[in-house]
């Protein structure tokens, strides 16, 4: 355990710590962020009204739409000159997602990443290789910085092809692989093709991020690569991957409840649900300075388990992520909202939006977005070259804007039950 004084804290002590941090976060948010002041005022509340952790339920939620409406700096709680890092990602709304960090925030975040690596059995003696696609650039940077902070030897993602990555893995004696579940699965196929046996590698651990890992896939990868898998849960809005992590007991994700306060709510009614019930995860930051979030709706469906864990940590555990409350889906770990697809197509095609339909396809483990576009009169050309050009442009556009791989199929009008 990296910080046993917090990770295995007695519940009563933790609750006092949470309360004092919550109260100071709410006071700062109320005094320094107009949006939160309006939110409090609209409910006739002042920060003083939150006298225990349960009172948090009286405050309204913060949603991704709120973040979008306050783009870019509206929710920052410190002046820009105190911000040392501004992280932008495509987000899932009309506007990009912008998160600011003070130097204190970065320190906290590094410490949380070190916590997660330690729980995964990674230490400064490890050689850690990263294979994460450009669309997960933020996660890649975060996880790399965390491994460096821990003192491990880091091999950054080189965007080589997978055969080359495997060669590096073998020759450099990589002991820990950090990647997505789908890429890990794909590596098995490539190893097969190359006749590379797992015994030729020095891997002991894989740290798989950015997408859920079904039990069957986990077993397949563990058996195929001869290693043990650790996972983590995080969302870009709240410090990325450092939010919750799996431990040696592999029994859910320990939620860093000393720095973030979790709630589970009924996504329909917004009512808080008792511990153990499944619902939407709502997160309130307790320590972050630049970008406090009060009751942020993650959109992820899960549950909280307060039972003590075999590993000795007392931090409450998140159950598996069972799905989303909204239409957001993941392509190889990158979150996409269906509306974004329509918006991107319309942008690219000069305001014209043809019928389209999508599906996430998996081929040898790798996920891509299969996009069917109906060629209507506005798009039609009798030149194959022009139509090929259209496919190419759409593919490039999705790669550039969302960092995902799209496979485009053009359909004739009336060729299928294309909706939208």
């Amino acid at each position: 355990m990296r910080q046993p004084q917090f990770e295995a804290m007695a519940t009563e002590e933790l609750e006092l710590l949470q309360l004092e941090r919550l109260q100071s976060t709410l006071t700062r948010a109320f005094r320094q962020v107009k949006f939160y002041r309006r939110q409090f005022d609209s409910h006739g509340l002042a920060p003083e009204a939150i006298r225990d952790l349960g009172d948090l339920q009286r405050l309204p939620f913060t949603t991704r739409e709120d973040l979008s409406e306050n783009y870019p700096y509206g929710l920052f709680a410190v002046p820009l000159r105190d911000i040392v890092r501004i992280v932008s990602s495509p987000g899932t709304t009309e506007k990009p997602l912008v998160v600011g960090y003070t130097s204190q925030d970065l320190k906290l975040w590094q410490e949380l990443l070190a916590r997660l690596y330690t729980a995964a059995g990674v230490s400064r003696d490890d050689i850690v290789q990263f294979i994460l696609p450009p669309g997960l650039a933020n996660w890649r940077r975060d996880l790399m910085a965390g491994a460096e902070y821990l003192g491990a030897s880091v091999i950054p993602a080189a965007s080589l092809n997978f055969a080359k990555e495997l060669m590096v893995m073998r020759d450099y004696k990589t002991s820990v692989l950090v990647t997505t579940p789908s890429i890990a699965r794909h590596l098995l196929t490539v190893m097969d093709r190359l006749n590379l046996a797992p015994a030729e590698l020095s891997l002991r651990r894989a740290f798989l991020v950015a997408a859920p890992l079904p039990g069957e896939l986990r077993r397949e990868i563990e058996a195929g690569l001869h290693l043990r898998i650790a996972t983590a849960y995080g969302i870009t809005e709240v410090m990325g991957p450092g939010l919750a992590f799996s431990c040696e007991a592999n029994a859910g994700f320990h939620f860093c409840a000393d720095h973030f306060y979790p709630e589970i709510i009924d996504p329909e009614t917004g009512e808080a649900l008792p511990l153990g019930a499944e619902g939407e995860l709502v997160i309130t930051t307790l320590s972050t300075v630049a970008f406090p979030l009060v009751r942020f709706r993650s959109g992820d469906l899960t549950s909280l388990n307060p039972e003590p864990c075999a590993c000795g940590r007392t931090l409450v555990r998140l159950g598996p992520i069972r799905g989303r409350v909204d239409a957001i889906f993941s392509v190889g770990g990158i979150k996409v909202h269906p509306d974004q697809i329509g918006r991107l197509l319309k942008d690219l095609l000069g305001g014209h939006l043809p019928h389209w339909r999508y599906e996430v396809q998996t081929e040898a483990g790798l996920e891509s977005l299969a996009l069917d576009i109906t060629v209507d009169e506005a798009l039609f050309s009798d030149e194959i070259k022009a139509l090929e050009g259209l496919c190419y442009r759409v593919r490039r556009y999705f790669q550039d804007h969302l960092g995902i791989h799209a496979r485009i199929t053009l359909k004739e009008i009336g060729s299928g039950q294309l909706g939208n």
Binding site: L16, S24, T27, V78, D82, T102, S103, Q104, K107, V289
Partner: protein
Amino acid sequence: MLKIRNLYAYYGSVTALSGVTCHIRAGEIVALIGANGAGKTTLLNAVCGLVRREGELSFQGRSLIGVASENLVSLGIAQVPEGRQLFGPMTVAENLELGAYRRFRRHPRQEIMEDLERIYLLFPKLRERLQQQAGTLSGGEQQMLAIARALMARPKLLLLDEPSLGLAPLVVETILATLTRLREEGMTILLVEQNARAALKIADRAYVLETGRIILSGSAQDLLADRQVTRAYLGRDYKEFTEGR
């Protein structure tokens, strides 16, 4: 050791603290920093029951609400008030003996003599001045005597209000070094300081108070580096500190 939950404090109709929650673990030095009038001293006074207060307050698991301030010493809490409040016409020795008044009846004289020896080790200056009137000591010596007097009660928790007030930087350093030594010996200290930089240098953790609420907390090291804290509370102090050399 000390747990404070939703503490309110009032001066007449004025609310000086509005819902403060914080804690101090055994063996820690915790600093309270903030601007003038933020509520730092009020918080100490509220712990001691010197102002009208509401909320939850417990020391080693025992509620302090309803405990009269004069009984705090026997629980193990001693306060060193701002402005030292020594008995000026009395000698240093007499002031120290007064600090142990609770113990004279129940404890052997020998034990108190030992404590005095310990204190002379901590503050050698005081031994030289034993027969001098407290009112004739320098500011720094008076502060030392005030701390020493509080220590004579053998407290577990020491509450200090502005120990650096009006003292030259070198003297401040001596006093703070003494507090660090006390912590090493196991003492728990809650320190209110206007001189935030000096306080953060020796504290383990700190809370930043602003108009009666805690707005920031963290390790002293983190807060020393925090730009908002630097701007709000460290700027002037730092200048004073360096120019005084």
